[in-house]
Subunit: 79 residues, 2 copies
Amino acid sequence: MKARVHVMLKSGVLDPQGEAVRHALGSLGFEGVQGVRQGKVIEIDLAETDTAKAEAVVTEMCEKLLANTVIESYSVELG
Amino acid sequence: MKARVHVMLKSGVLDPQGEAVRHALGSLGFEGVQGVRQGKVIEIDLAETDTAKAEAVVTEMCEKLLANTVIESYSVELG
């Protein structure tokens, strides 16, 4: 079973990578870019086939390793 | 209109970040992790309200800046 985890900085936390992308898009002539946030996406291939168990395991992975929950939020998609 | 871009290393391209995550998950006692790939997710807030135009603009952003199309693939979601 495949899981996809999105890890984004929480809103309110300064995102210098996103700001750099926004400025670069402006320099390249792209107009109307009101905001950019950059995060991580992690695709995990699991041996587990039970959706509920897989979701519990991946959530634990996020809490322990993948996200810094002080400044980052995460979401888990399975499929 | 919001756009979300996923940028992943193409399959076959070595992903040291993903490998590091896989090893770290193993060290933490998570079993059954068969593979991990790590990529970027970029959320862009656009002034454009037309879906077709926004998709064309974001695709151009990917080609010019957001993805290195030699080694990375990207996908665009609008909504």
